[in-house]
Structure formats: C-alpha cells, structure tokens
Symmetry: D2
Subunit: 396 residues, 4 copies
C-alpha cells in the first residue's frame, strides 16, 4: 500500500527536524575561508548566541561531528582510564552513552529506572551517598530521552548532588531538548552540556558541541583518556577556540539564521510553543487510548517530553505497520521504536520549526493509519487536539 510521495513530507521524526527554508538557504552558502575575518565575525557571534541558548556564560567547544561525537568529547576530555561514571537510566540513549563509556575504558555504574516512569531522584541520591570513596567522577544525565519521550528534572539531580555534597561532575545530554525545552546550564550547575545541530537548532546533522564549566575545564587538565580530534586543549590553542581541523563554515551561516529566528521569537516563547503543540499531541493520544488503543509510553505526567511523544501500541499490533502506512500513503515520517521498543512504539517528533497545521496534519494521518491497520482506538483524537489548540489560541 504505497503511493508516489507528493506534497511536502511531514517530518515528524523526533530529530533531525524540519529545517526552515531560510536556514536551508543559509547553509547553501558558497565556500569561504574559515580564517577570513568576515567569517570569524559570524563565528564569534554564533558562539555567543549559542551560549545564550545554553544559558551559560562559561565555555563552548564545538565539533564537526554528530551528537555522539560530542558525547565522546565529554568523556575523553574529562575522564581517565578506569574512572567511574554514574549513568541515570532513561532508555536507549542512556544505554548508548554507557556503552560508549565502556568502549572508551571508563567504568559505568547505572541507577536503574523503569523506562515508562522515569528515574527516582531518591535512588540517585542513594547512589551518591553510597559512594563514600567519592569514586564517581561524573553523573551522566540524558535531559530528554528521545526513545521514550520523557524528560528528566536536571535541577533535581543537581539538588541531590548538592545535598550529598558529592564533587562529581554533572554531564547532561541536551541533544533533543536544547532549543525546545528549557535548559539552564549555569543555574543547574551543569559541567558539560552535550548538544547537536540537528534538533531544536533546526540545522542539518554535522555539528555538535559541549558547553563546559570552569570546573570541567579544570578537571580536563588531569584527564588522561587518549584523544586528539576532540581534545579541548588542542582546540583552545586555536583562534576558533574550537574544532580540530577544518571548520564547517556552511553550518555557521545556518546557525546564524537559526539563532536569529530563535531570538526573534524569544527563547521562552519557543519553549511555550513546544509545550502547546506537545500537549495537543498528548491530548490526541490520550483520546485514542480510550478504547484499548495506543497510549502514551510515558506514565509520569510531570515528565512528558515537549519535543517527542512515544506512543505504545496495544498488544499484538505492530508500530512499524503504522509507520509504513503513514509514509507510504500520506508522506508522513514518524520515528520508530528504538532497540527493545522496536515494533511496540512509534514516536511523533514535535520539535523545531513547527505549527498547528503541521501537528494536526500529522495526527490526522496517524489516526487514519490506525483505522487502516485495524488498530483499536477511540476515534476523535484529532478533534481533541483541535479543541485544546483552539482554546490555547484564545489566550494568545
């Protein structure tokens, strides 16, 4: 069941995200010398702007790499072989980060969590308290778990560390939250914030970065993991204070436009728009669930993600069939369930450059796909989303 795709594809994968035309045009920039003063002016302004998005006044180091590269940078620059990190389980991405750490020769202790309910902050506190030898060098937190559609209250993790008087560094993956969900690097005492270009910043994949605290920079000096491409010391010796090797200039023209758009709208308004559209998606899914239908994967209402919603299929129904129908019949791209959730979950991304009709067109396509695949559900989810969005518009 498939048609030749026509019309604009609705890209509701939870990242990479929809790129606005003005950013696409900006990245289609002719090649320039990355040491050209005219480019350096753009570069420096981007660094400052990106710090405002991270809500930090400390340091920012950038990489020609995807988000996984920035993860690696956070570890190789701060850890020594055999060091211990405490990873808070969130889902697929906390597992990946743990695997990476192990691959790099770092020991991993995990605070386990139910993927549908999220971590218990008390368990984090307990793990920190138990570490009387202060072996834990870093606590690693995924701010927004893209695989489960759940956020984690980073401020509460910081509070637990403070309460435990634990000196570990706080490393936060903000890849699928930055620019979509409020993140406050300095206020939350984050030592290393890992971000990428391809989500809330609405850029193509290819550039990632770490916000770095003074404390982390100090810790870096004694970190002994082998490194070069991601080595902060090498980077800080360069004019750009970032990158080893060629700078990806075109993405900076894109970032300049991305920051202009974000600040034109206002960062807090960007977050409010994400919350509004995310809530519409949730109202829709909750409605569908009425008749033993698909339901929100996240069971903790206070932690639902404003950038992605994971939807759990009823027993015996295949999430991939929904995705295939949406793509093949309606040119709508949904995210699939990752690793162990494959087939059980599909994901609706709602981050970046998004508005009401984009979300409603997506939800309508999913609702039709449920029907076409004989998946039980309470019809009327789209109407529930519309009711919420119309109400929200009243107060605009």
């Amino acid at each position: 069941m498939s048609r030749l795709p026509r019309g604009r594809q609705f890209f509701a994968n939870p990242g990479p995200t929809n790129i606005p035309d003005s950013i696409l045009h900006a990245v289609a920039h002719v090649t320039v010398d990355f040491n050209d003063p005219a480019f350096l002016k753009v570069y420096d302004a981007c660094i400052e702007g990106l710090k405002r998005v991270l809500k930090t006044r400390q340091h920012l180091l950038m990489y020609t790499a995807s988000g996984h590269g920035a993860w690696e940078a956070s570890l190789v620059n701060l850890m020594s072989p055999g060091d211990l990190v405490l990873i808070l389980e969130t889902g697929n991405f906390s597992e990946s980060w743990a695997r990476m750490a192990e691959g790099l020769g770092v020991r991993v202790q995990t605070v386990p969590a139910d993927w549908r309910r999220g971590i218990d902050i008390a368990a984090v506190r307990a793990a920190l308290d138990a570490d009387t030898a202060r072996e834990i060098k870093a606590v690693c937190v995924v701010h927004n778990e893209t695989a489960t559609g759940m956020s984690l209250p980073v401020g509460e993790v910081r509070a637990a560390m403070d309460a435990a008087s634990h000196p570990a560094l706080l490393l936060v993956d903000t890849i699928s939250s930055l620019g979509s969900i409020d993140f406050r690097m300095d206020e939350w005492g984050v030592d290393c914030a890992v971000g990428g270009s391809q989500k809330g910043l609405m850029l193509p994949t290819g550039m990632s970065f770490t916000g770095v605290s003074d404390k982390a920079l100090e810790a870096h000096k004694s970190a002994k993991l082998a490194k070069h491409y991601f080595n902060w010391t090498v980077m800080l010796g360069r004019r750009h204070k970032g990158f080893v090797g060629t700078v990806p200039t075109t993405l900076f023209y894109g970032l300049q436009e991305s920051l202009r758009r974000i600040e034109e709208e206002g960062l807090e308004q960007v977050f409010a728009r994400h919350t509004r559209l995310a809530e519409a998606v949730r109202r829709c899914v909750r409605h569908w669930s009425g008749n033993n239908g698909p339901q929100l994967f996240c069971l903790t209402p206070s932690r639902v993600s404003d950038s992605v919603t994971a939807v759990l299929m009823p027993e015996g129904h295949d999430a991939e069939a929904i995705r295939r129908t949406c793509m093949g019949m309606f040119n709508v791209s949904l995210g699939g369930g990752l690793s162990r959730l494959n087939g059980q979950v599909f994901r609706i991304g709602h981050l970046g450059d998004l508005n009401e009709p984009m979300v409603l067109g997506t939800l309508a396509s999913v609702e039709m796909a449920l029907q076409l695949n004989g998946v039980p559900h309470a019809s009327g989810g789209v109407a529930a989303a519309m009711a919420f969005l119309a109400e929200a518009a009243k107060s605009a």
Copy 2:
C-alpha cells in the same frame, strides 16, 4: 489575535500554488544565454512537454507575463476592432475577461448564469442559434472559475457549437485547471487555450502561454487589433517560436522539473489526486454546513471544482475574519472572496503539490477558526474528511 508565524506556511490560496523544493531549486538557476544551444534543448523539450499537458499536437506560444497577459494575447491575435465575442458568465474571471475585451475594443455579448449553479448549456446553444449573422467571432469560456469554485464542461460547449454549426473560435481559460483538472485541447476543439505558470504547473508567477489551433493561426492572419508584445507573427519569426524580447530562462528550468514531476506521477494520476483531496475538502464543508454553518458556494454537484473550493459563510458572519484567524494564529493562507463575494466567501485552494496532511492541517485550522470566531457549524468536518481519505487509501 496574532502570533509570529512559525513552521511552514500552509498555502491554501487557490493559486499561486505550493512550489515543491525541487522546482524552487530549479528556478534558482544562474543566468544563461537564451540562445545557448544547451538552453534551447531544455526549451524545446519544455514546449513539447507542455503540449502533452494541454493534450494538443498543435501550436504553443509563450509569454513573459501573468495569465492576464495570455488572455490579452488570445484577444489581440484573433480579433479585430468591433468584433463580437460571446462570453459565458462564470464569475469574477469571466467578468474580467469581458472587461479586458471591451478595453481592447472588442464587443462583448454575455450568456448570463447564476454564479452558484453555473451556466445552462442550452442558453449557450440558444445564443449561438440566435446569431444568424454569424457575428460572434469567438466563444470565451473559463474552464475553472477560481472565484466560485466551479468548473464548466468545455466539451459540452463544443458540442453546442457543433450542433449550432457555428464557426466561432472557442477560447478557453485553463489557468486554474491545467495540470489539476482534465483538459483536452484537441479533443474538445479548443482554438486557444490560455494557461499560466503559477497554478497546476507549480511554478512562480511570470510565464503564461496559449495553445493555438491551426484554425486560430489562420484566423490570426486577418485579425487587426494593434499588438506587438503579444504578436504571434513576431514570435513565429523567432528561433524560439515564442516570446517577444528576453526569454525568462529560469522559469524553463523550473518547467522542466515541473513536467518531470507531473509525468513521473502520470497526468491522470495527478488529476485523480486532485479529485481525491478536493472531495475531502467538500466532505468537510458539507459536514460543517449541518448546523446552519458555512456551505459550498457551488450548488451544482457535477461542476464542483477539483482545484478550489469556495465556502459561503452564514449570513452575518465575515469570511475575512476566518482568513485573519487562520493566518494570524495558524500560519494558514486562505483565499478571500473576489469582488462582490468579498466577505461572504473564503476559498480553499487544493491544487498543485499537495497531499493528505497538508489538506487536513488546513481544514483543521479552518475548523478551529470557525469556533474561535463564533461561527455556527457542525463540528467534525475534519473527521468527515479523514473518513473519506482513509477509505480512499484502502483502494490505493
């Protein structure tokens, strides 16, 4: 009540239309010499391809002009001062064509029609029969009246002319039908088919054209209206067999891509897609009408347009308010009511590069706008459209 526009604008104006990215990229072409052999190859292929879309093997003459320019070309090349044309009333565009004819010194006889029901073919036949002196030099038909959302059966007009044995030329405005609704120049004996770039061909405004029959070319020889920019004789003397002056090369790169897309999908499949999406819009509007709500402007089911739907507001409610809400709150651009229909009607364009979620996102926005503006309607129009589209998907 307005927000900073974010996300992609839903352009549901009935033309110009959504331009696919591949066409936007194609028209962003560097300047080339319009006599360069490499360009001429593109040019010639476009002429042939456009003839296939017009379903003609006769002649095609093109203009750097909007659709009104091609209208003017059809008149100045075929008429002499004081000649009489018979214009079939359809709405705003038949009136405009009539005004243009008068401005150019041509006499106009109109076959009147109820704008909501469309012309009576018998009245056309009667007007032709009454013209015993064969004064009528041309019958002018708007194939798809963009202002009212109604099509006119051109084949039946031709049949009436044949039955009356009337020698007049048949001129057809196919601007908002070509590439969206079936049009058959040769089969229907159309002598001059007027088209533009900015509708079903999914190009920017700036180029228009006329398909021209052998009979029309013969009639042209004795037509005496003053002309130069649109003069076919001047054009036919040029290598390009079209255009007076500079050729708009970038639009040909776009047209090449437009034709590739149309023929990749198949012209008949393009029409079927338009019919499907148009029917979804109509199901939605018919549902809304239930509760003294907005209704289809077109009252003749067999003539509803597959490229645009005009929606008549209930008494006392302003169509412009709906448009303002859609644009200001949801970044959805609707068409307004033209001339005497202003304020009473809004129009939903559904032509060009379009798919299910684009249409459903638009309809959902309109339904929210009805609610926000306190316009009575039976809610659930979007669900009605979804039900139809899901059913249609079953047989795909």
Copy 3:
C-alpha cells in the same frame, strides 16, 4: 572544439546578468499571497527603493513582463492611433522600438545616426524645430544601446527639447543602463523611463516597469490606444498601484535583496565600479586593435557604454567563431552581434554583480580565443587591463 562545461560559467552577455547567490536564494521563495500584509510591506518598500534608483519622486508602475512589455506600456498608455513619435536612432533597440510603435498604430519619425558615432544632438534639435505643428507627441531615446555599446546623453536631449520649447513627452529606455550607469529621471525631465529586472538590478527576467511623470500621467488620460494588460488606469485602481493580474511575488523578494545590495554599496559607487571595469575592457580592446585587430565598435569616446562593450572584428573574421570558442573551450558566454551586426561584432557585458577577476578571466578567454581562431591582434590586452585596474586599486 568543445569540452564539457566545468567550473562556473562566466556570463559576459550584456544582460541578463550575473545574479548574486543572495538574490537567487531570495527569489527561491515559497509562494505567498500577494495581498498578505507581510508581503505588501516588502512590496511598498521595493517601490520606494526602485524610485531611488530611478532618481524620481514621481510614479512607478510595474509589469509581469520583460523589457519589451514595458516599452509597449510606455506607448499604449501615452499614444493614440496615428500619433507621431520621434525616435533617435541608436541601433538595434531603437529600430525594435520603432517597429513596435508601428505595430501598435503609431507613426514613427526617425532621427538617423551613424551607429558607430551616435546621434548628433543638433539633428535632434533640428527635427524638433521643424515640427512647427507640434505633431510629435513623444521623443523616444535608448539611454544605452546594448547592441552597439554606446550611451546617449539624455540630459542633452532634454536641453534640446527645452531649447526648442517642444512639448513632446520624453520617453527613455533605461533597460541596460539602470543600476549600472547614472540615470536621473526627474533632473532630466524624463516622462517615461522604461526599465527591466534582468540587467543592473541583477534579477531574473520577468518583471519590468516604467517610471512615469505627472505630465505623462496627465497625457495618459487622453491616450486612446487599446490596452488592458498594461493599462495604467486599471493598475492605479488596485491596491498595488501596479500590475494587472497576479503579482510575481518571488521577484519582489529578489528586488528587496537587490536594492539592499545596491544601497549597501551606494548607487554612485556602483556606477564607479561599472566605469572602472568597463574602462579595463576598453583598454584591453584598444590594445588588441593595434595589429589590425578587433576594435571598439563605438567611435565616440565620450559615449562608450559602461555596461557593455561591442567589439568589431577585422574584415573577414567571424565574431561567432570567437563566441563559440569562448563558450566551448572556456565556459565563457559572450553576446553576439545583433541583426545587421551579426558575425561582425561580439559583445562583452560588464554589468551587475561584477569584479576584477571576473572581467580579467573573461578578457583572457577572449584573447586566447582570438589566438585560437587566427584573428590578428596585438597580444597583451589583458596586461593592459591589469595595468589600469592595478592603478585604479591604488586610489581605492
């Protein structure tokens, strides 16, 4: 002798011109409603900006048409059937304008001129004085004759008209001068200034316009040539005060960027850059001419054009062979000789977004082509151009 074209094409045709990337990106704009307030803001600013380029505070009316369309607009809006216009012979384009006038039913009187020396202003004065019956309704001047590479001092024509106390309107074709060579509509008392998008404004072909004086607008009221598509009265009744039919929105986004670029550089600096680069071309051609080589077509030093240089081949050598070699071997597009100059002349355009290496790369290619085709010439033309440009750089 031909290679697959590689590298950027050097477009040295005298219009259309090189389009900067920022303008190409701007015209690759998604479709918007031309009545959308956000677009109208862009539109209105463009009208004001374009008036500054025309150096007028009077009226501006725009057309979806190439430059020939604006020519036609200047005639149909100001003339009545049988009216007489005085056309100053300059070359191909004065002849075309005359042919157009005749095609539209206007009588033409020509002040003849040697194409290589340019018109004698005294002869213009004499023609005006001889018109004791004041039959001449308009004097038509091509400011910059693209076919011969010669400018005409419009201010002197105005002075001659004033001295003769002749009430005719002054119509000026500024298509290949505007934005490249100083033009002063109001100061020179021009009543209708005809311009197009595709030359000094660095836009694609597709939009043209006329600056219109109060006096011309008054004359328009009694002008009786049939018209509609180009009818100022129809246009002035619309919100846009221009265009009949759909407005070509994408070109306005381009024009906005074009005006930004022109005003960023400064209009007078734009002219100075054109003069500098044009002079380099002339130094090169004069050098080539030393050995019975190609020479400047224009024999009047004070009238050489700063936007295009026509080069006359030595007897017995074909200009088209030079063009074919430049295109086939070096991916350089030159202009050909128009009408009677075909084969005798090739033309080097040097207008729009241009710099030293673009001009020198072009001249070097032409010099190689001369050698490859066995055309006698003094080699070293490029060096002569370089000497001039290096000297000019000293004072920058």
Copy 4:
C-alpha cells in the same frame, strides 16, 4: 586598502573548494529519516560510487567529521597503545598526523625530508629495512601535502615496502588529492585511505571516510586503542555499515550529485583538467620568478601538486600582504602559509569545479597584488599561463 566585496568571490584556497550550484542545491535538502528506504538507496549508491573514485573494491567507512576525524579513525581502529608508526615527513600535515598519533598514545618514527624537495624513497626503504624487529605497524603517507604543494608517489612507497618485505599497513591521507589527482587504493596496496568531503568531491566540510582493505579490517580486530565514535566494529553492526549516531543525510544528496558530475566528466578527464589548470598556474609562477620574484615552493618538478601550488615570496616580502590585497581589492581568497611557512608562502588552490577563466582571473589578481605591494617579479605571468592554456585548447 579594501573595498566592499562585489561579484563572485574567487575561492583559490586549497580546500575547501568551490562548490558547484547543483551541489549546493542538492545539500539544501529537507530533512529525511536516514533509515527511510528511499534514502538508503541514495546512500548505498554513494558508497559504491565513492569506492570507484577511490579505485577500490574493498571497504568504505564514513564519519560525520572533518578529515582530521578520518585520520583519527585510521589510527584508533588499527593501533594499540605504544604501537609504532612510520610517518614520512611532507610538511604541515605529516606533522599534524604525527602529533595526533602521539596524542592517542602511538609512538612515531619520522623519515625526515626537505619540505621543498620531498622525501627520498630510498630513505623510506632504509627505515623499513632497519626495522628488523618489525615494530613498525603502519607507514603513514600524505599523498598530497596541501601546505607545500607537493605530491608523493604512493606507488613507490608501496614498492619500497614490498621490496623490504615489510608487513606494515600502508595508511594514506588522500584528503587533498582524491578526485583531483589519480589515486589507486587497490593497485597501490593501500590499507587505509583517508579522505574528506570538502576538496575534490566539492562538498561542504562535514563528512570524511576511510577506504579500508581486508588486511586492515583483520588488523582492526586486535587493535586496542580506546574508541567508540570512530569504531569500525560498532559501525559494521549497523545497517549503514558506517557512522556512529545520526547520518548526515544532506551531504549524501550532495555526494550523489558530486559523483554524477565526476562520472559525467570521467574521472581521468577530471585529473587531466586538474593537471592542465595546475600547469598554467606553474607557468605563471615560473614566469614571475624571473626577476627575483616569487617562486614555486616545490623544487622537484616531478612532484608538483595538481591541486595546490605553494608560492614562496622573495626574502623580505610578506605573503600575507598579497593575500590581504587579493581579498580586500579583488575578492580573491588565497591560502596562507601554514605554521612555519606563514608569511613566506601563499597558496593557490586549483581543485574541484574549476575552469580557465577562474584560474586566469585569480592569477591576474595575484599579479596585480604583487605590483601593488612592490614585490619584485617578472610581469607577464598571466600571459604565460594563457599561452599554455591556448596551446592546450588546440588539442582538445
């Protein structure tokens, strides 16, 4: 001494390179799911095409990273802590690679060389013979040293290794040669070929890759350097057989177009064009050198690079001044001297999408800059280049 940049910038930096418009448009692609079957088709075709450019039938692994990332991949996947690599000195990039190896915990032995004359293959052979313990695990060669404008005969290195019966792996940096200078991975027995997107492939910076031999893949299994982001084992476990994390989809659309262009022209013809244009640059520089002027940095004629020419300034003259003049006055971007060559050398890149007028416009600008800065030189370098290119055109 500076003007507002106008006209197209001549980008004669030796990489990144000029990106043709068709590739810029291709990379301005909307976001797609990197697991979407339609994208995977593009992906797989790109992998196959890139292997043809590498002239290998073995393996290809790709990274979201600049060229330095692929360097790092070659080391971390093949080496264990304390392993020894033999690096052939070529200039800045062999030094950087050595520094990287040391940073990653690999021991480095260097075969020293005069940067202006290039390495003595006999010295390589001697070093291999001296390694009786077979401690050297890899020989690292920069095929084309971008800093000095010198190539190194990789086939001769392979012959020396074979003659010495040395089992070391052969690692080759082909970043600034691939797609510009003939490289034969399989024929030359290269075990790891390091390449990047931003040079001969004419793409933006952001993607790099390694061609990997069966032998290298075998060696990888026992390599113990810590790694994850660049870990081949992780990559080979994925559908894409490459990348850890998000795939940079937009660059694949660009690569698809790049490969189409390269294969349309023919890889051998691409090399021939590079040789022709490079030789023109060298003729020019040799001419300038006549009068104690700037000279070719490379003193070994058989090893001059066809992708970049380094030009050594006469004593007491600053290369940076030439670069500033070229950029400030003529909008021409040259490369600077790297590390110890800074100020003594400027570099002219001549790789990627390039043609005669681009090269000649660049050389003319440099020659003017020499004059403007009072640098002694024999004028007429451009003429020498033209003479060569005209001669070359005769045989095309």
